[in-house]
Amino acid sequence: MTSKTKNSSVPYAPGCNSNSDNSILQVRNLRKWFNVKSAFRFAGRDLFGTTSWLKAVDDVSFDIEYGKTFGLVGESGCGKTTTGKLILQLEKLSTDGSVDAGNIFFKGEDLKNLSDAGKKEYRTSIQAVFQDPWSSLNPRMRVRDVIGEPLKIATKMTRSQINSRVSEVLEEVGLHSYQSNLFPHEFSGGQRQRIGIARALALQPELIILDEPVSALDVSIRAQIMNLLVDLQKEHNLAYILIAHNLATVRYMCHQMAVMYLGVIQEMGDTEAIFNDPMHIYTNALISAALPSHPDIEREEIILPGEVVSPIDPPSGDVFMTRTPLEVDEKHEYFSTRPNLVEKSKNHWVIDTPWSLATKENRVKMASLELD
């Protein structure tokens, strides 16, 4: 860090334990509200109808520790990818102006207060690997240029330095340096994902955002890529944010995780704590719907009433109350105000309302099978 002036302190948020010394990234009250205008417009004016807000990410706070993996899980539309984009600064934080859009703290320093050099360090320290290795690599660029482009933009390296760095990262992800002359279409899906990882590694980042890095790959290749990511993490002390919907992948890769629903974190904490004792009904429902690893494992499915609600103008209280199978008390304070995460056991936080915690009937039974 170039400017180590500790003038800003990271505010406390429920669910975030670690102090800024061991966290590379801390997000606080992150919000991304999209303005959705009604369809009836004429000459640039709303004739009738109103402006609504699509709350893709609403008051999300978490910490990412150095060298650890943080998993974001949820169904499509829950805001997990938008959260990743906000951190990558591909989307700007925004609200309707009535509430604060939140802050991102990089190594204890508010992003808004960073100097130009600090911002540059932020952008090089945070890289991304995307889901689809077919569309995330430019088909008209050679691998050398795909991987070398971030180096060309962000560093003052000469062409030969860039080439040797490209060869270095290619070897690191299990490809050969002579392959830097080839085009992306000359590689298989797994190899292309390796190229994507090499591109993310080129600038020696400290945090990589992995947005569904293996779900587009073949089963036999997935293990290769997951093992590669785990090895690279150990070697370079990388932090990952893993955005995924496959819970088994999350359990394998992540140290901490958060379950999101409708833009709000419902349950957060150590991955093993959550899988061993999922508390929120939504987490239980997700786990119960996941596919078993053996035909003799029968999990009874917990089916939530209704469908995923639209994130346009969600309830002002607990967002989960429209899906809970339990009775909702209209007089309860969380019917109209947002509940906070509560620490139920060590490093295990959950939204605690009378209708959100799993009761005996809707708790998933994680029958593990002793195989001979």
Partner: protein, 357 residues
């Protein structure tokens, strides 16, 4: 907003009860060979595949991309694009007749009538400019010759059979107005509207969320229990196999390398590829240690050797000449078939009396 909601914590035993497999074989594929002519040479996409499907049974065909599982399904539908593809050899006996011998006109009636196909992506399978009732109705009017009000009733009925709520309203919707899960149900409704005896589901849930995927799989099981339909489930996900299938055929490079009932495959896999596939998937139920990974890439199908295609990726120690023998698929125990090769079956010696090499 009324918050007095019915407490529906009832947990479903979902249709995943005892299997409904009957003895009658409805589909029998024998020595199917489908080739594609490419500029690199002839690609043997399906190279001598045999399997039977019984009434009420779910057969999982598992394999990576390029293993020939989708071409097998297209061959059964007779939808292999010709040129470049041709069905070189084999028989596909559906309800007692060889559909490879049917004329294209006769095949039109079989396709969608006796056997239907559900594809992976519901957005490309549905036409965006026609509403749901047009598209479901098209299949029904071709196969059952219904018109007007009776057709409409049948459309609504088949939408109800895939549990689409407010089917009369939804029937007038266009595909873009439906969610992903609902779209896939519409595709399912088209598939089963003419009560086929075989339904081929080609990775129908890969683009869906976990909860929607679970609901869709449950729906397929329920439909199967109601109508004794035989389902061929094409997938690369062993989780789906564990949840859905009665029997499994594992394909590699156009051939079946192992096939058995689902418990045998999980408890006692013999082929190295099957073993590796199962152990390379992280488990949800427990913290998994380092994953076993299969080294290398799936082979390019145009330069396949005559021998054991899996040998280059096998972890076993073997002599190079062992890999050059074309392995035979033999029955090592009742209804457990393995492609026996020294290069990719660890217990080869135990079964070596079954083959002449």
């Amino acid at each position: 907003m009324s918050t007095k909601k019915k407490i529906s914590t009832k947990q479903f035993k979902d249709g995943f009860g005892p299997s409904t497999v009957k003895e009658d074989i409805i589909l029998s594929v024998k020595n199917l060979k489908t080739n594609f002519t490419t500029k690199w040479g002839t690609v043997k996409a399906v190279d001598g595949v045999d399997f039977d499907l019984r009434k009420g049974e779910t057969l999982g065909i598992v394999g990576e991309s390029g293993s020939g599982k989708s071409v097998t399904s297209l061959s059964i539908m007779r939808l292999v694009p010709d040129p470049p593809g041709t069905i070189e050899d084999g028989e596909i006996i559906l309800n007692g007749r060889d559909i490879l011998k049917l004329s294209e006109k006769e095949m039109t009636e079989v396709r969608g009538g006796e056997v239907s196909l559900i594809l992976q992506d519901p957005m490309t399978a549905l036409n965006p400019v026609f509403n749901v009732s047009n598209q479901v109705g098209e299949a029904i009017s071709i196969h059952q010759g219904l018109k007007g009000a009776t057709l409409w009733e049948k459309v609504v009925e088949s939408l109800k059979s895939v549990r689409i709520p407010a089917a009369e309203v939804r029937a007038k919707d266009f595909p873009h107005q439906l969610s992903g899960g609902m779209r896939q149900r519409v595709v399912g409704a088209i598939g089963i509207s003419s009560a086929p005896s075989v339904l081929i589901a080609d990775e129908p849930t890969t683009s869906l969320d976990v909860t929607i995927q679970a609901a869709y799989l449950r729906l397929l099981k329920q439909i199967q229990a109601e109508s004794d339909i035989g389902i061929i489930f094409i997938t690369h996900d062993f989780g789906i196999v564990a949840k859905m299938c009665d029997r499994v055929a594992v394909m590699y490079a156009g051939r079946i390398v192992e096939s058995a009932d689902v418990r045998t495959i999980f408890n006692n896999p013999l082929h190295e590829y099957t073993k590796a596939l199962i152990s390379s998937v992280p488990k949800l139920e427990e913290k998994t240690g380092r994953l076993a990974q299969i080294e290398g890439q799936p082979p390019m199908l145009w330069d396949l050797s005559e021998g054991d295609a899996f040998a280059p990726r096998s972890k076993l120690k073997f002599k190079p000449e062992d890999a050059k023998i074309r392995p035979k698929l033999v029955e090592v125990s009742p209804d457990h078939w393995v492609q026996l090769s020294k290069a990719s079956v660890e217990d080869f010696e135990k079964y070596s009396h079954l083959v002449d090499y």
